[in-house]
């Protein structure tokens, strides 16, 4: 029998032998019998003795060879060779069928797939699957925009209109041609060319200048509002408790970028507009001479100067005319004097002196306007290190000079550093020199001095007449002293030692006995002789010590403020506290006479005291 081997036999029979019901029961011995079997290729069912009648021999013959083939299974296949007739026939048939029957197409295609298409989806491996997802609901959306604006237009196009238009156009062109021939310019006869109007945006804001300046001032005053309030109204209440001393309240500080490296060399208030003042900038340093500048500030705008005049060489002195306050005289380091006109725009001076017109050969230390002379011409004086005191007159477009006096009369090589004219007698003036001497001179005498005072040991930095008392003037010098003189007396009335070189001194306009001085240490000293004859009633540092030196000081003629210039190009304004501007207290019931006479009398009293004491000491 078939032998499958022993594999799986265990599983199949679960280890038990199952006997079919009709199995022979054999004995053991019979079981062990070996039975031989021989496998042959003979078909056991094939007949072994097939007899066939042979007509040839006329007898039944035994077929020797019997077909041993046993057929177990037959299956007719449906594959036919591609090139066989039947295949070709079928291919032809298949094509016709497709054209004819559309309904049958899927069937015909399916039935013919395996005959026609070599590739087909394997029915056992390939499974088609389809699914339907959820479709979102549909929604209608619509929108209506505003239609673009429309206009109506109507016209008639007729031959005569066209003709008219063209003739007009041609005429215009003719005229253009003529014009352009006259101007000799090439013409583009093309009408289509765009006419570009060039309107350059105008950056000119000169019509706006006035409102803009006002606005600037408003903004600045708003920012420095408290300073402005202090300037006007603040009175230091602490002064009531301080016996004699007073303080200086710093107000605005005036600075200009381009003037940072320059030294303030002169200050001058404008008499007519008491909020305007001029600053001359240059350098005192002999080795560092560069450009200079004239700046004019107003208290109403502390951030930027109103007028700026840059100059070629350092400016050393400045004076504003008393009545025509648009005329400004300035003296320079190179010896020139100039007159600027503030009304005119432009940085150039109106008048300028040059070598031919008698300019100084050394720095011009001071200039001063005088009253108009007999021909009503403006004139001013200048003093310089070359020893000349020169008077300049503005005649038409020129500066005409005339030497008033030569300081070299007494000593050769001496130069003048400062001068001041007497308030009442115009012709009288005092000149300070580099050597420390002060000369009293007159305009009328050009060859000699009226008097000479051996005033200081070093150069005299400033001399100023007392605004009230006709005989008194004050001088200061780098030898640390300030001296007050009676011009009739050869020796100083008062001497003050300030422990530092005194750069400038100025009388207060409100009192004949008070004055202020600045030193290079950065201190401002305010004196009032009627209160304290020996000491300052105020000594206040105004700038950082050892860093900046103060160079000039001026009192405002109207307001109780002073301006102080330093060597950094900035000007500081300070307000005098009440103690510093005391008027003498009157006794009860007595009406105090006001006015210059009082001041003069005050000074006179002091001087008398001094003279008496001197006389008594001499005695």
């Amino acid at each position: 029998e078939d032998d499958f081997g022993d594999y799986g036999w265990e599983e199949r029979t679960h280890g038990k032998l199952t006997k079919p019901a009709d199995q022979l029961d054999l004995t053991e011995a019979e079981l062990k019998e070996e039975v031989t079997r021989i496998l042959t290729a003979e078909n056991p069912h094939a007949p072994q003795n097939i007899v066939r009648y042979s007509f040839k021999e006329g007898a039944f013959k035994l077929t020797s060879v019997v077909d041993q083939l046993a057929v177990h299974f037959v299956l007719d296949g449906c594959l036919i060779h591609q090139d066989s007739d039947e295949a070709r026939r079928l291919a032809a048939n298949g094509g016709e069928d497709e054209d004819a029957g559309e309904d049958d197409r899927p069937d015909s295609v399916a039935s013919k797939t395996n005959e026609q298409e070599p590739k087909c989806t394997n029915q056992f491996n390939f499974i088609e699957r389809a699914s339907q997802t959820l479709n979102n609901a549909l929604r209608d959306r619509s929108c209506q925009t505003v239609p673009p604006p429309r206009c109506n237009y109507s016209a008639t196009a007729t031959q005569w209109e066209i003709y008219d238009a063209y003739t007009e156009e041609l005429q215009k062109q003719e005229m253009k041609k003529d014009k352009q021939r006259a101007f000799q310019i090439k013409k583009d006869g093309d009408q289509n060319k765009k006419k570009i109007l060039n309107e350059t945006p105008n950056d000119d804001i000169t019509p706006m200048a006035m409102p803009v300046t006002l606005l600037e001032r408003m903004v600045n005053q708003n920012t420095c509002n408290d300073i402005a309030q202090d300037f006007k109204y603040f009175e230091d209440a602490a002064d009531e408790y301080r016996e004699q001393e007073g303080t200086l309240l710093p107000l605005w500080k005036f600075q200009y970028d381009k003037a940072k490296w320059m030294c303030v060399t002169a200050l001058c208030w404008n008499e007519k507009y008491p909020d305007l003042f001029g600053v001359a900038l240059g350098s005192y340093d002999f080795s560092k001479q560069g450009r200079g500048m004239l700046l004019f500030y107003t208290l109403k705008n502390s951030t930027f100067p109103e007028y700026i005049f840059p100059t070629g060489s350092g400016a050393l002195s400045l004076d504003i005319h008393k009545r025509n306050s648009y005329l400004v005289a300035a003296g320079f380091y190179d010896g020139c004097v100039c007159v600027y006109n503030l009304k005119k725009k432009g940085p150039e001076p109106e008048y300028k002196s040059n070598a031919k017109t008698g300019k100084h050969t050394d720095p011009v230390w001071q200039v001063r306007w005088q009253n108009d002379d007999m021909d009503n011409k403006h004139n001013f004086y200048s003093v310089s290190s070359d020893g000349r005191v020169v008077s300049w007159t503005l005649i038409k477009n020129e500066l005409v000079f005339s030497d008033t006096i030569r300081l070299t009369v007494a000593d050769p090589d001496v130069g003048g550093t400062c001068f001041d004219f007497h308030k009442q007698t115009d012709s009288l003036f005092v000149v300070g020199t580099e050597e420390g001497k002060i000369h009293k001179c007159s305009k009328n005498y050009s060859s000699q001095f009226l008097e000479t005072y051996a005033a200081h040991n070093m150069a005299v930095d400033a001399v100023k007449w007392n605004p009230y008392h006709p005989k008194v003037f004050i001088s200061c010098s780098s030898d640390w002293t300030i001296k007050i003189w009676d011009h009739t007396v050869n020796t100083p009335m008062f001497t003050f030692e300030l422990n530092a070189p005194v750069a400038d001194v100025a009388w207060a306009p409100h009192s004949s006995t008070s004055f202020a001085a600045v030193t290079t240490e950065g201190l401002v000293h305010v004196f009032d002789l009627s209160i304290n004859k020996y000491q300052a009633i105020c000594q206040q540092p105004v700038v950082a010590k050892n860093k900046t030196k103060l160079t000039h000081i001026e009192f405002n003629p109207v307001h109780p403020i002073i301006i102080v210039g330093d060597d950094r190009g900035s000007v500081i304004s300070l307000k005098l506290s009440p103690n510093l501007r005391k008027k003498p207290k009157g006794k009860k019931g007595q009406e105090l006479p006001e006015g210059p006479e009082v001041e003069t009398a005050k000074m006179e009293k002091l001087l008398n005291l001094l003279r008496d004491s001197e006389q008594s000491s001499v005695k």
Partner: protein
């Protein structure tokens, strides 16, 4: 003959002189106007004497360049009254005898 001979060159000169366009009325912006005028002139040159083709050409080009629904009328004698989209009308003369009106309206 001499007169006509003389007239002819004059006419030719006049025709030449008239060959520039005169814009009668327009509210188009500059660019659009320039383009439209250039387009018209080129169309006239191409299909001269056939106003229909010229108009068609102009209309198609304007549609492509500036959007749909342009209308073009070319003729020598007509009156018209149209509603047009603002800033989309050009009415001009050309060639001494032709008037062309272009407007846009949907």
């Amino acid at each position: 003959m001499a007169e006509t001979g003389e007239a002819d060159p004059e006419e030719v000169v006049k025709k030449l002189a008239y060959s520039f366009p005169i814009v009668r009325h327009t509210d188009m912006p500059e660019e659009m106007k320039e383009e439209a005028i250039a387009l018209c002139i080129s169309a006239f040159e191409k299909c001269s004497n056939n106003n229909e083709n010229t108009a068609k050409m102009v209309k198609d080009s304007m549609d492509k360049m500036f959007g749909t629904a342009w209308h073009v009328v070319i003729g020598e004698s007509f009156g018209f009254g149209v509603t047009h989209e603002a800033k989309n009308l050009l009415y001009m003369f050309y060639g001494g005898s032709l008037a062309i009106c272009i407007w846009k309206c949907c």
